[in-house]
Symmetry: C2
Subunit: 127 residues, 2 copies
């Protein structure tokens, strides 16, 4: 059976939520979306391919080299979220150069940047 | 400044994605949504309160006792996903009685249930 038949793409207009987790540390790196096409591309390539409302098919890291090698794929109970355990090339998933997109922590009512800077976005993406 | 001013509720019709992670192990437990109201309730109560399209305000575990004590709150780079590190009372976040909603792993093209059963949903939710 096609494993994608277990997914529910109807709740968000053809999209499922996709979470990327660092396979080595378990840290949540980022959250994006996939449609059926980009999930199939992800399985074929073995690298995360998301769907972005602004850019369409988004093979993450294609330009920067900071691709995400998929080590395992997981599905939630109601089939509308996939979780990818990945090897993050370049060490950081976030366009800001942080390891994780979740680098802001709420402390005493304000967001504090506690993220680790692992690359310089100006160098990776150019100006 | 109101920390919620850093959030972008506009992308998904008043909702942000909310990820609950086990604070002790780092395991991703579940993914749901919050609106501004339930995020404020979460901060006030110190327990996860989600927004469900079907049930509205959803104070998770209110009936079962399996609440999620919020240990820390994190925000992603573009402000449309919050991550909660929680203490999961009762040991399991999923309505199936599994520890995590992500209990299906893709192996050789099919989903395999590898999740740990931590409670009996028939006992917890009644019949």
């Amino acid at each position: 059976m096609d494993p994608l038949a277990s997914l529910d793409f109807t709740k968000s207009g053809g999209l499922v939520t996709a979470i990327a987790v660092d396979d080595a540390t378990g840290e949540v790196l980022m959250v994006a979306a996939m449609n059926e096409q980009t999930l199939r591309m992800t399985l074929e390539k073995g690298e995360a391919v998301y769907w972005s409302r602004s850019r369409g098919v988004w093979h993450k890291g294609e330009q920067s080299g900071h691709t995400q090698r998929v080590k395992s794929l997981w599905l939630d109970c109601d089939g509308d979220v996939v979780l990818l355990r990945v090897e993050q090339r370049g060490g950081g998933a976030c366009h800001t150069g942080k390891r994780s997109c979740f680098f802001r922590k709420l402390e005493d009512g304000r967001w504090v940047d506690v993220g680790e800077q692992v690359f310089d976005p100006a160098q990776v993406y150019g100006r």
